[in-house]
């Protein structure tokens, strides 16, 4: 239980930080795509005895690079290509899984099983999560600049392509570490919701990161506790709490929430400029 809490909070923090970039770049669907596309990688890695994280990472990266490549070399739009590629890869994973004898549980991969995490897995997740967290935080300004104004990044001779791949790699690895917690169907919530909560509360990027991380960590901890006491799906509880936080932010955030906007409009009517 204590292990689960630590792992959950680490996963939440890692995903939350990345979610800020995904939300700002309009890459939300990319998070969904990569998380589904890791399945064949996991199955293959299990089959040949590699760490599951390695297989997942390669498959996730393949998905995003293949999407970019097909889009550049065809007239089909990016979201469409992505839809085809990630469902195709997910289906491949399902077929491979059904043909393989294993003691892997498909529902653990799809839905997560954080309360049943082993000590060594927990340690592995904590270390990988911490590395991702540090790398993202250190490179946040560069990653923000390539998302905000590519031209400026190029003019300053920053390695913008490399930074794109860095973000993709961080994304794939974050998905790998969160599979255990929420499973690959719900990972996308961890990768989108905290960032949008942050964006609703502030218009400074560093604050957005902190709010996203804070809200995600708190929701995850309470989600795990609730699921433990209700004996309900852990991944489901975590994501549900996050969704509620999002709804509350949508309503009550001071500047960009509905209530705040309504108040501002009334203030504007009372004292017209």
């Amino acid at each position: 239980m204590r292990d689960a809490l630590w792992v959950g909070m680490m996963v939440a923090a890692t995903c939350a930080m990345l979610s800020c970039f995904l939300v700002l770049r309009g890459w939300s669907l990319m998070g969904d795509a990569v998380s589904h596309a890791v399945l064949p990688g996991i199955v293959v890695a299990y089959g040949v005895g590699l760490p599951l994280a390695v297989g997942a990472f390669v498959a996730g990266l393949f998905c995003s690079i293949a999407t970019g490549f097909i889009q550049r070399n065809s007239r089909v739009k990016k979201d469409t290509v992505m839809g085809v590629v990630f469902t195709g890869m997910f289906a491949l994973g399902l077929v491979m899984f059904s043909r393989m004898e294993s003691d892997l549980h498909l529902d653990h991969i799809l839905l997560g099983n954080i309360l049943g995490i082993s000590r060594s897995q927990a340690l592995q997740t904590l270390i990988l999560g911490a590395v991702l967290l540090v790398v993202t935080w250190v490179k946040r300004r560069d990653l923000l600049l390539v998302s905000f104004d590519r031209g400026q990044a190029k003019v300053l001779a920053l390695p913008e392509r490399l930074l794109d791949y860095l973000l993709l790699s961080l994304l794939s690895l974050a998905i790998v570490v969160s599979l255990q917690a929420v499973g690959l169907i719900l990972v996308v919530a961890m990768l989108v919701t905290p960032g949008s909560v942050g964006l609703l509360w502030t218009d400074r990027f560093d604050r957005m990161l902190l709010i996203a991380v804070g809200s995600a960590v708190a929701s995850t901890a309470s989600g795990i506790l609730i699921s433990y006491h209700l004996d309900a799906s852990t991944g489901g509880c975590i994501v549900l709490v996050q969704a509620l936080v999002f709804c509350a932010s949508l309503a009550f955030a001071p500047k960009y929430g509905w209530l705040g906007r309504h108040m501002n409009r009334r203030k504007g009517k009372e004292n017209p400029v």
């Binding site: 700002l24 250190v138 300004r141 560069d142 923000l144 600049l145 998302s147 905000f148 104004d149 031209g151 400026q152 190029k154 003019v155 300053l156 001779a157 920053l158 964006l199 502030t202 218009d203 400074r204 990027f205 604050r207 957005m208």
Partner: protein
């Protein structure tokens, strides 16, 4: 700043699209600082392609661009090329403040952690003060007017200490007062030895503040001092049929209306040609002889 004058050489540059179609063919021109040079041509004439090749975003299939004799790539590493984008290229909802944007000009000079030093902070403050945006430093960029947005990105170029500054349509969506402020600032930068390249379709403002012009239509049609290159003939060549002409006939102007010409226009300046060059001119210093001569003629 007393550095050696900068020079920019574009030699025989051809750029092709992915489909093999040439966007720019054998374009050549030469500029040395300080100068404000207008890049004039219709939409699709290759203005932005030329910009992109100067910034190293596209690789020419032949020819090359050099800045102070060095390849573009080397110049970019030295952070001497600065770029002021068009408003549409930027997502104004991003959670960044005016000061954050100006600080982005300094990234190339920071270490990989991008932690601003005291110098970086002073440069940003100086730049923002220079465009009168220091008081707005904590505003989110979406909350600014069109003119203020332009000035923030100009401040970023200043903070970067760029010596070759490229501005893409700097006067679109900008009020008349800001336009004048930007022009004044560009003149100061010219005096400091910068090469300023302005892509514009706002012809009326060109003789107002640009001392040189590059006319472009798929290739460089001509370049040089504004008074020599920016003529009615050349412009007709560059724009083909895309320009609207209004001729003020002898009868309407001189007799009928008592020698008064009135030109009304929206926010863009009209380009008015008279005999032997431009009628309207704000920098008349040094041209007293022409003025006197014209006086006598009337």
């Amino acid at each position: 700043m007393t550095e050696a004058p900068f020079d920019l050489a574009v030699e025989g540059v051809s750029v092709a699209y992915a489909n093999g179609h040439l966007a720019l063919r054998d374009a050549s021109f030469h500029l040395s600082g300080g100068t404000i040079c207008a890049l004039v041509g219709v939409n699709g004439s290759g203005k932005s392609t030329l910009f992109k090749s100067i910034m190293g975003f596209v690789k020419p299939v032949s020819g090359h661009v050099t800045i102070n004799g060095a390849a573009v790539k080397v110049a970019l590493k030295r952070n001497v090329v600065a770029y002021v984008p068009q408003a549409e290229e930027v997502d104004w909802d991003f959670p960044v403040s005016v000061a954050d944007v100006a600080m982005m000009g300094r990234y190339g000079r920071m270490n990989f952690l991008r932690i601003p030093s005291a110098t970086d902070k002073t440069k940003v403050e100086e730049a923002l003060r220079r465009v009168s945006m220091w008081d707005f430093r904590d505003r989110q960029i979406g909350e600014l007017s069109g003119g203020q947005k332009k000035r923030v990105f100009l401040a970023r170029a200043l903070a970067q200490e760029g010596r070759v500054i490229l501005l893409d349509e700097p006067f679109t969506g900008v009020d008349v007062k800001t336009e004048q402020a930007i022009i004044d600032l560009l003149r100061e930068l010219r005096a400091e030895g910068c090469i300023i390249l302005v892509s514009t379709h706002n012809l009326g403002s060109v003789p107002e503040f640009c001392d040189q012009v590059v006319l472009i239509n798929r290739t460089v049609l001509g370049y040089g001092p504004t008074s020599e290159v920016f003529t009615e003939d050349n412009l007709s060549k560059a724009f083909g049929g895309a320009l609207r002409h209004f001729h003020f006939e002898h009868s309407t102007v001189q007799d009928h209306d008592g020698r008064a010409i009135r030109v009304l226009t929206d926010d863009e300046r009209p380009l008015v040609f008279g005999k032997d060059g431009h009628l309207e001119y704000k920098d008349r210093e040094g041209r007293e002889d022409i003025l006197r001569q014209r006086e006598e003629e009337t």
